[in-house]
Symmetry: C2
Subunit: 295 residues, 2 copies
C-alpha cells in the first residue's frame, strides 16, 4: 500500500491570521521535498479559487516540487475538471510528467471548489454533464495524440495534436469521488482508479460502493489491477497506522492511503514533524503488516 | 541595461532528430539555473502547441526553474494571450511570482503560435479583437482583486475574486510586438513596457515605431520610466556585445536585451558555454559601456 499526503495551500493559519503567501508556498515545496526524503509515495496539492487559498494553479506549484524531488509521485488533489479546459489540464500535467520524469498524476473531481464555476463561466447546475463531457475529452487526449472530439461545453477538436506527450503512457488519472453511487459506477465503467474521500464517519460504510465499483469494472472487462482503490482521509497521523491497516482491510484492499493535512496552514515545524512521523512509523508499520499478511 | 535569454523547448535537435523530452526539459531548467548563477537578469520560455515543441505550459516549466534559482527574472516569451483565458494566465503567473518571491513576468503577444487558435476554439480572423479584449481583462485582473468585466469572447465576471495575488504589485506585463504600428500605439496608450522582436534586418528601422510608442505613452500621461523598451533578438552571443550596445543607442535607449537561443535544441554543452559567454563577456562589457556613458 502506498502512503501519501494531500495538502491545500491555505492562506491563513490556525488562528485565521494571514500568512506570507510566498513563504507559505516555499514551505509547501519544502514539505514535498521532505516527504520525498523520508520515502512517502505521493504528495497531492488541492485546487481552490478563493481568497482563503493560494493553490489555484497546482501544476505550477508541483512543477517547483518536481525540480526538488527524486521519487515521490506528484498529483492534483483534486483538479476541478468541470470548470477546466481538458486540453490545458492535460498539457499542464504532461509537462509536469516530463519535468518529474514520469511522476505526475491527476485526480479529477466533479463538484469540489464550486467557486470555480462562476469564475470560468460555467453553470453549477450543469456540473454532472460538464464533468462527464470533460472527462471524456481528457481521456480521449490521453489515448490519442491527434484528437477528434465534439461536445456541448467546449469547441470541437478536428484532429489537432495535443502536446507535449507525457513520459507515462497512460498518464495516471484517478477519479476522485465522495459518496455518490453514480460516481463509483462511472469509475468502474471507465476502468479508472478510484480515490475515495472519507471525510467523516466510518470508512466501512463505503464498502458497498467500492464493491459496486469493482463489480462494474469487472463487467466492463477491466482487471483487478486496473481497478485500484485509494483512500483520502483526514488524519494527523499519530495513531492512524493501525487504523489505516484496518480500514484497508474493511474496504477489501486499498492501493494508496493519503492523509489530508494543512486545511489551515499549520506551523512548518509541526508539518515537518508529522511528515517525519509518517516516514518513521507509519510506512514501516504498514509495510510490516503487508509482509505479515503476504500482500 | 538588463540582459536575458529567451528559449523555446524544442523537441528536435539541429539535425531534426527527436530528443528525449524529459531530458530536454531537465536541460532547460539547468540552463536557467546556470543563467542565474552567472548573473543574467532574465530568462524567457516560449509557448507553442505543436509537435516540434515541449513548451505548451511555460508557467509549469518556469515553476520548476523558480525552485532552483535565486535572482533571475522568469518570464513567458511570449504568452499566446489571444487563445488563453486571462484568469488562468494571471493565476499561473501570480503563482509563479509567489514561488519565485517576486521574479515573474509576462510578455503577452497577439499572433504568435497561431496553431493555438483552432486548438482552443478561436478564429484566427478575430485575432486582434481577441487580443485587445483579453489584454483588457488581464490588466483589469492585475489592478483589481475583485473583477467586474464583460466582453464578447469570454463569460463575464461580476465581482469574483482572482487568486492568488502576486508578490509584485503590479505584476510586470510586457507587450510583445513585431512590426505592426498599431501594436506600438496600443502599448503606449496602455503604458505597458514594450518588448520588440527584431528577428531580421536592421534594428534601427524600428526607431520610428519606438518613437511612436514613446510619444503615444507620453500623451497618455505615462512617465519615461514606465515606457520601457526591451529588445528580443536572434544571436549566438559571440560578437554581439558591441552590436547590442549600438542597437540600444540606435533605438533611443533599451532597458533589456534578450537573446533568442535554442529554436532548435542545441547540444547542452553549447548552450551552457553560450550562457557562460554572456555572463563572462557580454554583461561586463555592457555594464562598462553604461558606466562610460553615464547611463
Amino acid at each position: 500500500m502506498q502512503v501519501g499526503i494531500d495538502s491545500f495551500a491555505a492562506a491563513f493559519d490556525e488562528n485565521s491570521l494571514a500568512v506570507n503567501p510566498a513563504e507559505r508556498l516555499r514551505q509547501l515545496v519544502q514539505q514535498i521535498e521532505h516527504a520525498d526524503e523520508v520515502g512517502l509515495d505521493a504528495f497531492g496539492v488541492g485546487e481552490h479559487h478563493r481568497r482563503e487559498f493560494l493553490d489555484s494553479a497546482p501544476a505550477v506549484i508541483l512543477g517547483a516540487a518536481a525540480a526538488r524531488t527524486q521519487r515521490i509521485r506528484l498529483t492534483s488533489a483534486v483538479t476541478v475538471l468541470s470548470a477546466e479546459d481538458p486540453v490545458r489540464a492535460f498539457q499542464n500535467f504532461a509537462t509536469l510528467d516530463l519535468l518529474s520524469r514520469g511522476r505526475a498524476e491527476m485526480i479529477v473531481g466533479r463538484g469540489s471548489s464550486i467557486e470555480a464555476f462562476p469564475l470560468f463561466g460555467f453553470r453549477l447546475e450543469d456540473y454532472d454533464e460538464l464533468f462527464a463531457e470533460k472527462l471524456d475529452l481528457l481521456l480521449t487526449i490521453r489515448d490519442h495524440e491527434h484528437v477528434q472530439w465534439s461536445g456541448k461545453h467546449r469547441p470541437a477538436l478536428t484532429g489537432q495534436g495535443v502536446y507535449p506527450r507525457p513520459v507515462q503512457n497512460p498518464l495516471p488519472i484517478w477519479l476522485g469521488v465522495g459518496g455518490t453511487p453514480q460516481s463509483f459506477v462511472r469509475a468502474g465503467q471507465l476502468g479508472l482508479p478510484l480515490m475515495v474521500a472519507i471525510i467523516g464517519g466510518e470508512p466501512r460504510r463505503f464498502r458497498p460502493l467500492i464493491d459496486l465499483y469493482r463489480a462494474t469494472g469487472m463487467q466492463h472487462g477491466y482487471s483487478a489491477e486496473q481497478l485500484k482503490v485509494g483512500v483520502h482521509m483526514l488524519g494527523y497521523v499519530a495513531d492512524t497506522t493501525q487504523e489505516a491497516a484496518e480500514h484497508a482491510e474493511a474496504l477489501g484492499g486499498v492501493s494508496r492511503i493519503s492523509f489530508q493535512m494543512n486545511a489551515a496552514s499549520l506551523p512548518q515545524v509541526k508539518m515537518m514533524r508529522a511528515i517525519d512521523a509518517i516516514g518513521a512509523r507509519v510506512l514501516p508499520a504498514l509495510h510490516q503488516a503487508e509482509t505479515d499478511t503476504g500482500k
